[in-house]
Symmetry: C2
Subunit: 193 residues, 2 copies
């Protein structure tokens, strides 16, 4: 072997990258002792790899996720609302990101697409709050990480407190999803079909 240390440095840095990815919340001291090197060496490694200091990592994760959790979980609408005519139709866009997809295949998990469609459909309805009653949906093509989803929703009929909304999602003009939703507004209870 021509260079034990050089290799070990590269290997160490590779492992460091992985470690940071798996658990970004360790300080230099902990990381250094995990590799059996000095703090300075570890800091050089971080510098070379462009890995920011612990507090900045905290900041990044906190800020990134704060947005995510606010906009994804707690939000009234999943995706970005582009156009909306209350009681008629609406368009929303969702950029698919890491974490929405299976790691193995990079295929976006179905429920994100469902959430996108459902929340847009809900936004279109001109009633205080509606509850999803029935949904008939079909995934026409797999959606891959990075695909930009364009959802178009159309309110097609209202019967009593039931609202019928159709949603189509396309990626690059190609249809990938369609869904028919029936929402029941909340003034009355949801009854049997």
């Amino acid at each position: 072997m021509s260079n034990k240390k050089r290799v070990s440095k590269k290997v160490r840095q590779e492992k460091l990258k992985e470690m940071i990815k798996e658990d970004p919340f360790q300080n230099d001291e902990e990381l250094a002792s995990a590799f059996g090197v000095s703090i300075q060496t570890l800091r050089l490694d971080r510098m070379e790899l462009g890995i920011p200091e612990l507090r900045e990592r905290f900041r990044n994760v906190a800020e990134g996720n704060y947005e995510k959790v606010r906009s994804m979980v707690g939000a009234e609408i999943v995706g970005e609302l582009i156009d909306l005519t209350l009681g008629k139709q609406g368009i929303s866009i969702l950029e698919t990101t890491e974490g929405m997809a299976f790691k193995k295949t990079n295929i976006v998990r179905g429920h994100h697409i469902f959430a996108h469609a459902e929340s847009l459909a809900m936004a279109v309805i001109d009633a205080d709050v509606a509850l999803t009653g029935v949904a008939n949906i079909k995934y026409l093509k797999p959606i891959y990480l990075g695909d930009k989803l364009v959802a178009k929703a159309e309110l097609v009929r209202i019967r009593g407190n039931k609202h019928f909304v159709h949603v189509k999602i396309t990626v690059n003009q190609q249809q990938v999803f369609r869904g028919k939703f029936i929402f029941v507004s909340l003034s009355m209870d949801v009854d049997e079909e």
Copy 2:
């Protein structure tokens, strides 16, 4: 008025609590100047209210959300898997929490229920990775914040690369959701109905 300053202190502290809730990522200097008081005063306020320092707030949000995002968005299964017979049936439980529900009504957003059902249905299938093809679902009753969802999935038929799974969700033995999913395993492309 017996004490202008005392009142303004209380008011200031109330406002501080709100500000921190809305945007926890401001340091003492910014907060102090927002109220027109000195840094020391603001720190006293924080102490009295038990609000931790900025870095700890970063840490809390980062660590809290890291878990959330990992377990909720990126997870292979939504909810807790209780029982699973691969290729036959499975049971999973999901405790509904804040953030899953509309603030106004405390009704849990439909896509969380969908995600719960879909991911369990997926877990039951004995194939490498499957993609949701078609789903026919019905919400029978509104689900409220705090409800504990019990999902039971059953693989009812396999035809070629199509897997038919039925999922029932109950809250306190009362059925609240049913869904029929068709998953297409990935060896072949998804074709038209």
